[in-house]
């Protein structure tokens, strides 16, 4: 009897176990359904927020639209006057900053967006600062490498970048003399003059 009882209990336990195992997938389904519903709710919420961020624009007459744009243009010209100069030049960083700030401001002013996101503004300014810093570093490196490359060209006198474009400090000659024992302008004058005259002759020949 005890054996039967144990069997019964075992069968009960096994059946309950089966039920449990059967119940698990349903629970999973429920969780799937619940995740689906939450996803749907989330998407509905995001749609709502999208709609809220993009307010419906009522139809305007052409004249109203032009007046509005004129006012926005006047405002933007005053607000971004410093950035316009950068945008006009070849400075791509300045132009990019101008476009980003101006575009966002336009969206807000023309009721295409609700508000100007300050986080975006902070990001833009950080990017600009980093890019400016990188530009400055690269310029410094370029100028240093140009200086080192220009020296022999100036000595020979046939380089395309002459001394006339550079304005060195007055004490520069003394410093160079202390370091190298000679200066380019005074001590190598004769050799460079001879090379220059040779170069100018070549130039005149080329001109002929």
């Amino acid at each position: 009897m005890t054996v039967c009882a144990t069997k019964k209990t075992s069968t009960r336990s096994s059946s309950s176990a089966r039920k449990k195992t059967v119940a698990k997938p349903s629970a999973r389904r429920k969780t799937k359904k619940s995740t689906k519903t939450t996803a749907k709710r989330k998407s509905a919420r995001s749609r709502k927020t999208d709609l809220e961020s993009k307010p419906a624009v009522a139809t305007r007459s052409v004249d109203e639209h032009r007046d509005r744009l004129r006012a926005i243009g006047d405002l933007l010209r005053v607000a971004t006057v410093d950035l316009v100069a950068d945008a006009e030049s070849d400075d791509r960083v300045g132009r990019g900053a101008y476009l980003q700030v101006m575009g966002r401001a336009f969206e807000v002013l023309d009721n295409l967006a609700e508000s100007f996101d300050l986080d975006d503004l902070v990001k833009i300014s950080k990017i600009i600062v980093e890019q400016r810093r990188a530009e400055l570093n690269s310029r410094k490196l370029d100028s240093a490498s140009e200086d080192s490359l220009d020296e022999p060209a100036d000595v020979s006198g046939v380089g395309d970048r002459g001394m006339a474009n550079r304005q060195l400090p007055e004490a520069f000659g003394d410093i160079v003399r202390q370091i190298y024992g000679a200066t380019l302008a005074d001590d190598v004058c004769e050799s460079s003059a001879s090379v220059e005259s040779h170069g100018s002759m070549n130039g005149s020949e080329a001109g002929l």
Partner: protein, 105 residues
């Protein structure tokens, strides 16, 4: 609107693109911003015809593309994200200093 746009509608939209960019000159606008702004005047305007109009105005030399520094490869920037500004020729047409029969209302 699509292909069924009349010549008058086409001219109206193209003119308004020039006028909108003129009001913001020398600033530039993204194509999407420009279109969304024009939706308040032309509620039935669609993207593809608008893009064609913009391309037409660019080829005419009235509108020019401005490449932003954050465009890694300008060829792959989607049209909606491209920036456009008025050229001097476009300014003259928008001001009616120069007449263009293709844009006369």
């Amino acid at each position: 609107m699509g292909n069924s746009r009349s010549a008058r509608q086409i001219k109206l939209v193209r003119n308004e693109v020039l006028v909108a960019l003129k009001m913001l000159y020398p600033a530039a606008l993204q194509a999407e911003q420009l279109m969304r702004s024009l939706l308040s005047v032309f509620p039935t305007i669609e993207w593809d015809p608008f893009r064609r109009d913009l391309a037409y105005l660019c080829e005419k030399g009235y509108v020019q593309r401005v490449v932003s520094d954050n465009e890694s490869d300008e060829r792959f920037t989607p049209w909606r994200r491209r920036w456009f500004r008025l050229t001097s020729a476009g300014m003259e047409v928008a001001d009616h200093v120069i007449d263009d029969p293709a844009l006369d209302e």
